[in-house]
Symmetry: C2
Subunit: 250 residues, 2 copies
């Protein structure tokens, strides 16, 4: 299975610490990786068919502190679809003049929706098919970008229609909010004042956020499995869909 | 004005040599850069709001020999639109299950087409507006991906409708072919057997392609201004639209 990592902040923040721990897990998830950073409405999107541990692109991400309020990352262990660049998550589409980013962990069975509109998969994964269907149905439900609360309501109707086909842990963002849906495994935490030390599970690395964060900063980190040893990760429940905004679940 | 660089090959080839010369020009084009590489149907897309000379992302591109048959790169000197990530070329959209990449050099005046379909600009440049309009009109003209010859015919009808609004040098690719349109300045050359030495205009660097290329390799390089001193660059004519495929204009 793949693994997901998301970050949603109230101030542009770099994800170097969390991504470093996350990328360590790629020895078991060697079929590609990807990460997307929103900067305002703009997007940086890095994908590689190499494992995040070996990829020069992942190395750049670990060394270049890109500051972003919304990040989605994915390390891939192929279930459906070949190991190739077009099958690397996250996927990107434009809708209502904003980029949308999607990454999926899980496996969908017999999910072959009619895709009759402007969103077609480029690769051959169940994940990209599900993303295109969500985009198509969102485009049908709203004429232009609705408020987050309205998107929550529409997604709450759409997501179960996909989730009944299998495991559908995913993250979705259009740069303002980040939606996380849990079928099986997804955890989150909120870092805010008073900040303390966090120690990575996967490598011998710790950061004292009290040294680097400002008092008003708030960062939500969402991941398939907890990334740190000494923080209170909240497990999401099967079927739960959460929208994060400005570093908090709303 | 911005500058454009494109490459179209019959075998996956790295663009490190040409991009190194091209990036040197960014001292005068300091408002961002971008490059997109097709790998099969997949796409790597790098953008940065920093000049290509200073950008860590451009540094990765110079050091990591990504092998691709279709590449489009752009260094930006802003005319319309703020200096921000969402205004960096090349722009990407999906149509008919393929990614399309577009970069523009020039300036369009009073170009405010009706965009009523699934392609909306994210940023605020004339260039992205023109790209969205081209995508919209291509989507109306064909139900699925047509042959290159048909796309040539449709683009030959569409492009002059934009070009009469100003300067419209551009490159466009969906991974199989690369279209180059010249309003004012665009040059190309084809490297093929027998290969010789090429010496960059902009820095003291030469490559003898006889040492690195195979006999059957063929590479077309398209650029705003010739990149090398000792090769026979062909100037394109104002109003000329060329499709390149497998390293040759067709």
């Amino acid at each position: 299975m793949c693994q997901l990592l998301g970050m949603c902040c109230n101030q542009p923040t770099d994800i170097v610490f969390s991504f470093s721990g996350f990328a360590t897990r790629s020895s078991e998830h060697a079929d590609g990786f990807g990460i997307a950073f929103f900067e305002g409405k703009g997007l940086r999107h890095f994908v590689d068919h190499q494992a995040a541990e070996r990829s020069p692109v992942a190395d750049l991400v670990k060394r270049y502190p890109i500051r972003s309020k919304q990040v989605i990352a994915h390390i891939r262990k192929a279930t459906q679809g070949r190991v190739s660049l077009e099958n690397c998550h996250p996927f990107v589409r434009e809708l209502w003049g904003r980029y949308w980013v999607f990454a999926h962990n899980g496996n969908l069975v017999d999910f072959q929706p009619r895709l009759h509109a402007a969103f077609r998969p480029v690769g051959d994964t169940d994940s990209e098919r599900a993303f295109c269907w969500l985009m198509q149905e969102l485009a049908k439900a709203h004429a232009s970008m609705p408020r987050i609360e309205e998107l929550n309501a529409t997604l709450a109707e759409l997501v179960p229609q996909v989730a009944r086909h299998g495991t559908f842990n995913f993250m979705l963002s259009q740069g303002e909010a980040l939606w996380a849906h849990c079928s099986t495994h997804l955890h989150y935490l909120v870092r805010q004042h008073p900040f303390g030390e966090a120690r990575l599970q996967d490598q011998d690395l710790a950061v004292n956020f009290a040294d680097v964060a400002q008092d008003g900063d708030r960062v939500a980190v969402i991941a398939t499995q907890p990334l740190t040893l000494n923080e209170a990760w909240v497990p999401m429940q099967p079927g739960q869909l959460l929208a994060f905004r400005d570093g908090l679940p709303v």
